[in-house]
């Protein structure tokens, strides 16, 4: 177990600058998730830590050692691949034992470690089978087992759950969390799935176009996104965005957009006062919208027309028409809403997000 430090890491493929100046300090025993859309450089970053991809510039440290020039085998890492990458001609046992055999462990020690890992993962009964005789979930366990037996300094996960069906993915997510709590090995986990990122990570790193957008604990990112991209990427359904102009009206700061005219509450108004006269983006999470009685109209509510009602069981998603734009609201499952119904929605004043229109940074 060791910390991992990434300093000003860059990767260029001919014309393409895939990873741009990534800086990251991963603490010992920490579980850090790199998340972002495909092509954001998260996998390339992971592969540079693994030593599978050369580093164009910058440094990677595992423990106290700069590992830039070390081959993967000397970095004391274990990696779980998206497609499992199990050796098809070897049994489950041999797949797990291979790394130890290559490192010349004693036969008894190999056996002890393989059986221990198989026990943790519940795959004792499959040890003599070949990978192709296993289901996707079982293969994933073997791939995990192959990493566990090595007792490495760092676990690297490259979208390990993306080939599993939805139900199994949730189950394996929980198991991964348990295994990490039990082993306490530093882990770097790459995914494009924001739910995995939020649930697994001690800290989450959101990337886009090779650049780190924000690093922090999951709820901090969710509640205080640093920019519009992070705000829109985390959360499902995604945050609603409305273009509004900030104007002063009778001493109040108002956000005026298509179908909305909001009187901003005290602290927010103070914060945004220096952007008066500008066009900015207002962000509202679907769960921060609430249906109120038509009479209860106040400065933080607006009119909307229901277009689609999606009943998910635990909640209802309302696709709404607001002015010419649209919004999604997540409301209580008991709400009775009909298509084409006119509703009045109120915003939670504590949970309004504003982003600069040009830089997209939170303001």
């Amino acid at each position: 177990m060791a910390p991992v430090v990434i300093r000003n890491l860059n990767k260029k493929y001919n014309e393409v600058h895939a990873v741009k100046g990534v800086n990251l300090e991963i603490r010992d025993r920490e579980f850090v998730v790199l998340v972002g859309p495909s092509g954001c450089g998260k996998t390339t970053t992971l592969r540079m830590v693994a030593g599978l991809e050369s580093i164009t510039s910058g440094e990677v440290l595992i423990g106290d050692t700069v590992v830039n020039a070390l081959p993967p085998m000397d970095r004391d890492i274990a990696m779980v691949f998206q497609n499992y990458a199990l050796y098809p001609h070897m049994s489950v046992y041999d797949n797990m034992a291979f790394g130890l055999k290559m490192r010349r462990f004693a036969r008894a020690e190999i056996d002890r470690r393989v059986r221990h890992a198989a026990d943790i993962l519940g795959i004792e009964d499959y040890l003599s089978r070949k990978p192709r005789q296993l289901s996707g979930g079982q293969r994933q366990r073997v791939a995990l087992g192959r990493a566990i037996v090595r007792h490495p300094q760092v676990f690297l996960f490259d979208e390990p759950l993306s080939n599993l069906d939805a139900k199994l993915r949730v189950q394996m997510r929980v198991e991964l969390k348990k295994i990490h709590d039990r082993l306490g090995t530093t882990a770097i986990y790459v995914t494009h799935d924001q739910v995995e990122a939020m649930t697994l990570g001690d800290r989450v790193v959101v990337m886009k176009d090779g650049v780190v957008q924000q690093v922090g604990e999951p709820l901090d990112l969710y509640n205080a996104p640093a920019n519009r991209f992070v705000a829109g990427f985390l959360g499902s359904p995604a945050m609603n965005f409305v273009r509004v102009a900030l104007v002063e009206n009778g001493g109040m700061v108002q956000a005026v957009g298509d179908g909305v005219r909001l009187a901003l509450p005290g602290a927010t108004a103070v914060r945004l006062r220096r952007h008066l006269g500008e066009e900015v983006t207002l962000g509202v999470r679907p769960e921060d919208l609430r249906i109120v009685a038509a009479e209860a109209a106040n400065g933080l509510s607006f009119e909307a027309v229901v277009e689609v009602v999606e009943r998910l069981g635990s909640e209802i998603l309302l696709d709404l028409k607001v002015g010419a734009g649209s919004m999604v609201a997540a409301v209580e499952p008991t709400v009775q809403a009909k298509v084409r119904e006119h509703l009045r929605l109120a915003l939670n004043p504590e949970r309004l997000h504003f982003f600069d229109s040009r830089s997209e940074a939170a303001i």
Partner: protein, 313 residues
């Protein structure tokens, strides 16, 4: 009577008038036989008939222009005591074994190189196939010039680098001649190995190599423990194809040495040709050809068993 009734009746009235052949073909057994017929005719005409004719020739005393009578195994008895035939058998095994080992080794090496990423990869891969594409007789004539004692470009080069001081008679010395013939066979056969093995390599998920690298396997161990076992099925098929072709090789030797000097490069096929066509002893030539059969049969059986085993797994 409604119009529809009329139409229906008309249709039923027409049914029995369809041809007898059409009705016969509606029976699956007949249809199967008809569909198989072209294949059976082709195989029979071009494979079964010549084979049976060859077997028949081998047990007669036919010569050119003389139909011949049945003589049992007399031709094979004669071969058993024929020292040239024994030389040809020995040469054929040496030729096949040495050429196959080199073709596999060089072909695998080339395939591993071509499997990497480099500029001009597609062009190189196409270029590699050249020896395989050029008609064998033409390329072999080029080699014959290169082996010519007087005009040999090989000798000229070696001489100019001071490596030799007298001409090497590549095709004139018995041992050298066999080596020369093997070199040409290897040159011609390597592309087939390289391209086939390259195709095999490309079916192997590159993540396996990466997983093995992280698992601590060095380059040689990754090849031995991961790549080679996964490439083995393709390798087996390619090798067995090559063995069959090399074992029955004719063109190279016929053009380069004609089996000489002093039968030093005489193979099954060239000896069969020399006796059967050269001397006109058709029956004995057929017997020489047929003597290849048991060995090739074993190779084919091994190949089929192996492929079946791989398919079962």
């Amino acid at each position: 009577m409604a119009v529809s009734d009329l139409v229906t009746r008309q249709a039923f009235a027409d049914a029995p008038q369809r041809g007898a052949a059409t009705r016969l073909l509606e029976d699956e057994r007949w249809l199967a036989a008809v569909l198989l017929l072209p294949t059976v005719v082709l195989l029979g005409l071009f494979i079964a008939y010549p084979f049976v004719e060859g077997v028949w020739l081998a047990v007669t005393n036919a010569t050119v222009g003389v139909p011949g009578k049945f003589v049992g195994l007399a031709n094979f008895e004669a071969l058993w005591n024929d020292s040239i035939f024994r030389t040809a058998v020995y040469n054929t095994f040496i030729y096949t074994a040495v050429a196959t080992v080199f073709k596999l080794g060089l072909g695998l090496w080339l395939a591993l190189l071509l499997n990497r990423n480099f500029r001009g990869k597609a062009f190189t891969r196409a270029f590699i196939l050249l020896p395989f594409i050029i008609p064998t007789v033409l390329s072999t004539f080029a080699w014959k010039w290169m082996f010519d004692p007087t005009f040999s470009v090989i000798n000229w080069t070696l001489f100019h680098f001071g490596l030799i001081h007298s001409r090497i008679n590549w095709l004139g010395e018995p041992d050298l001649a066999l080596i020369s013939v093997i070199i040409v066979n290897v040159w011609r056969g390597v592309p087939f190995f390289a391209i086939s093995l390259l195709a095999g390599l490309q079916t192997i998920n590159p993540e396996l190599e990466e997983a093995a690298a992280i698992d601590g396997a060095r380059a040689w161990q990754r090849f031995w423990h991961v790549t080679w076992p996964l490439l083995l099925p393709v390798t087996m098929v390619v090798m067995l194809f090559s063995i069959i072709q090399t074992f029955a090789d004719f063109q190279l030797v016929y053009v380069l040495t004609g089996g000489g000097p002093a039968n030093a490069t005489q193979l099954f096929a060239t000896y069969a040709y020399q006796i059967g066509v050269g001397t006109g002893l058709l029956s004995q030539g057929a017997a020489v050809s047929l003597a290849m059969f048991p060995f090739l049969l074993i190779v084919v059986v091994v190949q089929l068993l192996y492929i079946r085993r791989v398919e079962v797994h």
